[in-house]
């Protein structure tokens, strides 16, 4: 399959007066055209930072891409000029934000907000043409066209998220970054929005990175899953690889251990002990070793490479060193890129 997005060895830091926070540490990620990838992890794992890096929208003067490469559909994101980036945003890559209540401008009619995106990226479109396109998009996301003259405060949360999706999809981007698009919605509306996203994905054949900490949402619409911890991907595989099978990163096991299972008779959940490491002072070796129930001697000393379990499944954990068939080292792959 064709690669749409290639992130190699990405490091992102946030510099404040108190400390330097290492938000993303050596992240490698590949996204194929048209697929939906779930990016799962705790709060502070660097999921949103990764998405903002792809958009190059890290906060000015604070967030910085230290090293690594991001190539999106042949465009080098890190080297692109500000204006090139502005043209890509909304056109090739769009982002949906977490809270639909705040991500719409309260003073502009919703139809005009959708039309604005079209006017930015397709200036050749006439006023009427753009208006018709807005109607089309409204129908696509299931909004009544006659309500496009209303203001955001006249819509419910679920409707607003549809408007946000309409804005993101207006120019039919290749890649959609959805940053917890359902977190701020209640469960029934969540289901509707997920169904809509699923439907649109099939209709428009665009790739999606779905950022979430809800594994239920992941099962619903994702093709592949990447588990993030402390700024790196510790396990990545197809939905089947992650949700079934025995070979898992201890952290993934921990994640599933903290979800109630209706089919098992258990009186307690098994949360992972401890907290995410402080991004201002990361531990040595494997970043999970302090909380890992299966920690061995090498863990605090050496940072584990990603071991390939199967063609689609790889895990960044020393426990899998023995059964490894092929070692995918971040630095080795970096050298191949250079050649």
């Amino acid at each position: 399959m064709e690669h749409l997005l290639d992130i190699k060895d990405l490091y992102v830091t946030y510099t404040t007066d108190e400390a330097i926070f290492h938000a993303v540490n050596g992240l490698d990620l590949t996204l194929y055209k048209g697929e939906t990838l779930g990016l799962v992890g705790e709060t502070g794992a660097g999921k949103t930072t990764t998405a903002l890096s792809i958009m190059r929208l890290l906060p000015d003067r604070i967030g910085k891409i230290e090293k690594g490469s991001i190539v999106l559909d042949g465009h080098d994101i890190i080297a692109a000029s500000d204006n090139d980036m502005r043209v890509l945003r909304g056109n090739l890559v769009s982002m949906i934000f977490q809270d639909p209540m705040t991500s719409l401008n309260p003073t502009i009619r919703v139809g005009d907000q959708v039309q604005e995106v079209l006017e930015i990226h397709q200036p050749e479109l006439s006023k009427e043409g753009a208006g018709q396109k807005v109607d089309e998009i409204f129908r696509l996301v299931g909004l009544p066209v006659e309500r496009k003259v209303e203001y955001p405060h006249q819509f419910s949360g679920g409707m607003r998220q549809r408007i946000v999706i309409a804005i993101a999809l207006a120019c039919e981007p290749q890649l959609l970054l959805a940053d917890e698009p359902t977190t701020a919605l209640d469960v029934t509306i969540q289901a509707q929005v997920l169904e809509l996203m699923q439907e649109l994905k099939e209709k428009l054949n665009m790739a999606t990175i779905l950022i979430t900490h809800d594994l239920g949402v992941v099962v619903e619409i994702c093709d592949r899953v990447a588990i993030m911890y402390s700024g790196e991907i510790i396990e990545v595989g197809t939905l089947r690889d992650i949700f079934t099978g025995d070979a898992h990163h201890p952290y993934t096991d921990g994640l599933f251990g903290s979800i109630p299972d209706l089919t098992k008779k258990e009186s307690r959940l098994h949360p992972i002990d401890g907290m995410m490491p402080d991004p201002a002072a990361l531990p040595s070796g494997c970043k999970f070793h302090e909380r890992c129930p299966k920690c061995i001697e090498i863990c605090p000393v050496q940072h584990p490479p990603a071991f390939k379990i199967s063609e689609t499944h790889s895990i960044r954990c020393h426990l899998f060193a023995s059964e490894v068939t092929e070692e995918v080292d971040a630095h080795a792959s970096e050298e191949t890129v250079k050649e």
């Binding site: 056109n91 977490q98 003073t107 930015i120 207006a170």
Partner: protein, 300 residues
Amino acid sequence: MNNQSITIEATGPVMTKRQSLFMLIVKRYMKNKLAVFGLILFMILVVIFVLGAGLFVDYEADAIRHNMEYRNKPPTSAHIFGTDQYGRDVFARVLYGGRVSLFVGIVTILLSLAGGSLIGATAGYFGGKTDNILMRIMDVFLAIPSILLAISIVAALGNGMLNLMIALSVSSVPRFARIVRSCILTVKGQDFVEAARAYGCRDRKIITYHILPNAIGPIIVQATLSMSTTILMISSLSFVGLGLPSSIPEWGSMLASAKEYMRYSPHLIIFPGIAIVLAVMAFNLIGDGLRDALDPKLRN
């Protein structure tokens, strides 16, 4: 004909929806009795100064020409506010003075609003060095009392209405710049601004289309409240002889020239004074009312 009726139908709902947000603000404003009183007062003043002055008073004969037989006469039926030390009708001069004050005041506010918005919005949106440089320059201006700054500008440029407006605008730009900057800062952090950047909106459009309309409330309030300060400033500058030439009727200069006679002819001070008080009060009440009506926390 047929076409026309279709267009009207199509825009029908648009109009009602557009009004709904505006009507909400109007409704909230109308609930405030004092604010409504201020608005009515303002409208009465405008009608009197703009229409009444032209209709009922002969500018040349009553307000400009000296008439030494009628010096310092108390109010009578012919001169309801009395006459001043040159025999000019005080009523006529108060009316024409209102024109000058309102005109200079409004132009000054618009100029300083434009300048302040440009500087404040640039500083607030881009932050960092741009912000520091612009705002430190504004701080220098703020360090000088605005009346002193205005006096020195008029002194350098010379008397006259245009110079007066320039002086007053320059001295109130820093205040507007600060207000606009702080409004921009609060709106800038909101998600929809980030979202606009995420779909490729240009900086200039983000500022003018997304941020300023959401920050307009406090800015309008500052403008109306500054209106009263500006009227007082015009009067103060004229009072010390740096405003308009004394032949042009203006409330401040009327007070200034009347101060020698106020012991025996108090009406020379009382009537222009009342005019100033009423105008300032009207703008303050309107400003307060707008502040409450536009408060985004109460909007919904």
